[in-house]
Symmetry: C2
Subunit: 173 residues, 2 copies
């Protein structure tokens, strides 16, 4: 989606702990338990960048609850750690297929983006939008808690086969 929108996209995969992070926007497309190690390994390189947290801080063995303290979020945990970056929470209502297809059940896919840095939010929203997917400012980074909750709920509905992996929560304006 980002590439389709004209962004230069580079992937850093497991094992490339010496990689140089050259982009302006870094998407942590990783399991939540990997985040701390990644922040430690790449810390200084992330300073000043926009870091997009898309993790599900969830116990996938039980699907019973989020694993972050109830008043917090994975995103707030990441923002609280060095380095000083602009953390955004996004992509919590969008299963992979709805990004590939640009639609969910015939409704255009909308990515909700929460964060405290207005410029970072605008950059991510622009990069998503030119890739053919709508994006909407969902407020401050404190809204990450609600985005993680909706992501959790959406996952529980999908694993229990009440919705499909190409379904979920469509945002109707």
């Amino acid at each position: 989606m980002f590439a389709a929108g004209g962004s230069d996209v580079a992937n850093v995969t497991r094992g490339q702990r010496e990689a140089t992070i050259s982009g302006h926007i870094v998407v942590l497309a990783v399991p939540y338990p990997e985040v701390d190690g990644i922040l430690t390994a790449f810390g200084a390189q992330l300073a000043g960048k926009t870091v997009v947290d898309i993790t599900n801080p969830l116990d996938f063995s039980t699907f019973v609850s989020l694993v972050v303290p109830a008043a917090e979020s994975a995103a707030s945990h990441i923002q609280a750690k060095p380095p000083e970056s602009h953390v955004l929470k996004a992509f919590k209502t969008t299963f992979a297929a709805t990004l590939v297809n640009r639609q969910v059940g015939g409704v255009p896919t909308t990515v909700l983006v929460a964060g405290d840095d207005a410029d970072a939010k605008t950059s991510l929203i622009d990069a998503i939008t030119v890739g053919g997917v709508s994006a909407l400012d969902a407020g401050a980074l404190s809204r990450a808690r609600e985005l993680e909750a909706i992501g959790f709920l959406q996952l529980t509905l999908a694993v229990s086969e009440k919705i499909g992996w190409n379904g979920g929560f469509a945002v109707i304006r």
Copy 2:
């Protein structure tokens, strides 16, 4: 919607604290701060009934956070208090207009229902469905926390005019 589905519907309004509650399903269509007084006033009459909590436990003056402890929910608060009733959380992704219209942006409206009592959930889902609106079992009452979070997020998007009051989160199966 319930009446359209053939249910007998009676409204108990403010000031009718001596009313007799004759129905099997009681919908608490009230502001969250009113709930404790209602439980006290009607306590024994609610015993054994299905109590549907649709409240938004939210500080509407600030829209900054939910007012229930982070690990809890309005629904769990109600379930924990006497009398022993079957508490469900529902209608948290459905603005009023989407129930009246039976659709949100062209997508059929779906009501998500969480609760621990399977029979109570089935009764509510049936009463909604025959009224022309879809309903889906969203899991245990512990999922009320996520339903309240999504309701909160949906309200913040509407009051900031990012979505309309006839929009919101459509459930795509």
